[in-house]
């Protein structure tokens, strides 16, 4: 079994896949952000349960759905990274992650949290790019709409 694959399914990703962060359907929700890839069928709902006040995301976010380990772990990391953050900060984090996955970061920007770096294995598996970025791209659209 290849080193590439070990890297793709790093321990961080395996952990997030097995015990995803805030993986539950809240009883009441305000907004559901749908992250759905029709081609492979991955489908996650990201839940916002309380109103955005002071341009800040609620302290707790949840998600639920199904998808491969990469998409599940990446959604889990997303939720964990941005809950409670200001819209601007959240936007910056999301942007950073997407640029990292798309290899658009300059060297000095490459100091990233371990949970981001865990996804570097995707660089060797272009067919998994979609999985790693699915929820992030939808979140980006949502944040943009809130910042307008």
């Amino acid at each position: 079994m290849s080193a590439d694959l070990k890297k793709l399914y790093s321990s961080v990703i395996k952990a997030h896949n097995e015990t995803p962060y805030h993986f539950e359907k809240p009883t009441t929700t305000l907004t559901i952000i749908k992250a759905y890839n029709p081609i492979c069928g991955d489908r996650f709902d990201l839940y916002i349960t309380s109103p955005i006040t002071d341009y800040r995301l609620p302290l707790t976010l949840h998600f639920h759905g199904f998808g491969c380990a990469i998409s599940k772990a990446s959604t889990s990391v997303l939720i964990k990274s941005i809950e409670g953050k200001s819209l601007n900060d959240a936007m910056e984090i999301v942007d950073h992650f997407l640029r990292f996955i798309n290899k658009e970061l300059r060297d000095k920007e490459l100091i990233l949290p371990d949970e981001f770096l865990a996804f570097s294995g995707v660089h060797d598996f272009p067919e998994r790019l979609e999985c790693a970025t699915l929820a992030w791209k939808e979140m980006k659209k949502y944040l943009e709409s809130k910042n307008e």
Binding site: M1, S2, D4, L5, L8, Y9, K14, I39, C40, G41, D42, R43, F66, G67, C68, A69, I70, K72, F125, E127, R128, C131
Partner: protein, 403 residues
């Protein structure tokens, strides 16, 4: 197991270029033997010209060869008349021609079309959309837990208002071989025409239109060792002058004036525009290839592989197989517990084993199986026991990796 396979494998250049490749995605598309690829090359390098009766040698021989393939296709499926064969770009287009060009005119509000619960999207959405437009009903033959059609419902589903029954010969997800003779005769007793989706069976399983008595039969070249972009629509004579084309244009007409066009007859009226000549010639070559094999031993061989694989699979406690149809082609769907199908396919892909994960363009069937996706393994004549062994051992590695 017959040792013929190693020599067969050597006829497919993809395996010389990728000696380690275990290709188990045959239900998506088959690999192409050298002879088929060569026929496409030869066409472009030695014979390329447009058809429609050019008066120089290249063009007239392109026309002749294109038309000759109708004969070959007709023979392959036991049809007596080469003009029963219309060339399309694939199964999907063939079905849409029947849905839009034939059925739509007949369908009234309250009428129904019957399909089964295991149809590929290509044999579902066209009927669904036409039914929607015409306020007709799409009725579904249910699939039981083993992946067999529940035919006890058939008699009540087929009513005097049923205008068409469309059904797959072999399921592309579970491998189920449907008893289409029985189904057709049931429909014919009520004068209902039947379309058979032979995408998974044509070229691999015997089809004899005369015995079968199907009204329409459709398939794609690329799933039977032929090129992409070529497919077949067979129609019984009695419907031929009732099928309108999806595409209007050159090559399909008798006479054109600004306010009026007289069309050619079936099958030419359906073939407007420059056809995929090299694709059709390659289909002809694929049929020659198929006829150079003994179909019965090929089926026995891929069946043995399938059974060998299923047995091994069943011995893996972490695997959940789907379906156990009474009669099955060489297609198997399963899941690895706690590992998402895409992670399974990705893992296998990483060790050069090509399988497919997803809904296999059959979402409603997967819905009824209670899962959004499965891993699918599908065999062809160039696969080997070793391919199975490698897949099984990769699945064991995968499980280790994930626990």
């Amino acid at each position: 197991m017959t040792p013929v396979t190693n020599s067969i494998k050597s006829l497919f250049p993809i395996f010389s270029n990728h000696p380690a490749l275990v290709y188990l995605d045959n239900a998506a598309t088959s690999q192409k033997p050298k002879s088929v690829i060569q026929s496409v090359i030869d066409y472009y390098e030695k014979e390329n010209a447009n058809v429609h009766r050019g008066l120089y040698k290249l063009s007239s021989s392109a026309t002749t060869r294109y038309e000759e393939v109708r004969n070959k296709v007709a023979k392959l499926i036991g049809a007596s008349d080469p003009n029963s064969i219309s060339f399309t770009k694939g199964t999907t287009e063939s079905i849409n021609v029947v849905a839009h060009g034939f059925l739509k005119k007949l369908l009234m509000a309250g009428d129904s079309v019957v399909i089964s619960g295991m149809e590929h999207h290509a044999n579902l959405i066209p009927w669904q959309q036409v039914c929607k437009e015409k306020k007709a009903l799409l009725r579904i033959i249910p699939v039981d837990g083993d992946g067999n059609l529940d035919l006890s419902t058939l008699d009540s589903l087929l009513t005097t208002n049923t205008r068409l029954l469309a059904i797959t010969h072999i399921s592309n997800v579970l491998g189920t071989i449907n008893p289409i003779e029985e189904i057709i005769s049931c429909a014919h007793k009520k004068n209902i025409p039947v379309l058979i989706d032979a995408a998974q069976s044509a070229g691999h399983y015997p089809i004899d239109i005369k015995n079968l008595d199907a009204d329409f039969l459709v398939f794609s070249a690329h799933k039977m060792f032929g090129p992409l972009g070529a497919g077949v629509l067979f129609s019984l004579e009695k419907y031929r002058n009732q099928i309108e084309p999806l595409n209007y244009g050159g090559g399909a007409i008798k006479n054109v004036e600004f306010d009026h066009t007289e069309f050619l007859e079936y099958p030419h009226n359906l073939e407007a525009g420059t056809p995929n000549i090299s694709g059709v010639i390659g289909l002809g070559e694929a049929i020659d290839f198929i006829q150079s094999l003994d179909m019965k031993s090929s089926i026995l061989y891929t069946n043995e592989l399938m059974i060998y694989f299923k047995e091994k699979l069943n011995s893996l406690p972490f695997v959940k197989p789907f379906g156990n149809p009474v009669k099955s082609g060489s297609i198997v769907s399963f899941q690895v517990k706690n590992v998402h199908p895409h992670d399974v396919a990705g893992f296998l892909g990483n060790v050069n084993i090509a399988v497919r994960a997803g809904h296999h363009c059959a979402q409603p069937l997967l819905e009824s199986l209670g899962v959004p996706s499965t891993v699918r393994v599908s065999f062809a004549i160039y696969n080997t026991k070793e391919d199975v062994d490698r897949t099984i051992s990769a699945l064991i590695d995968l499980k280790k990796f994930w626990s």
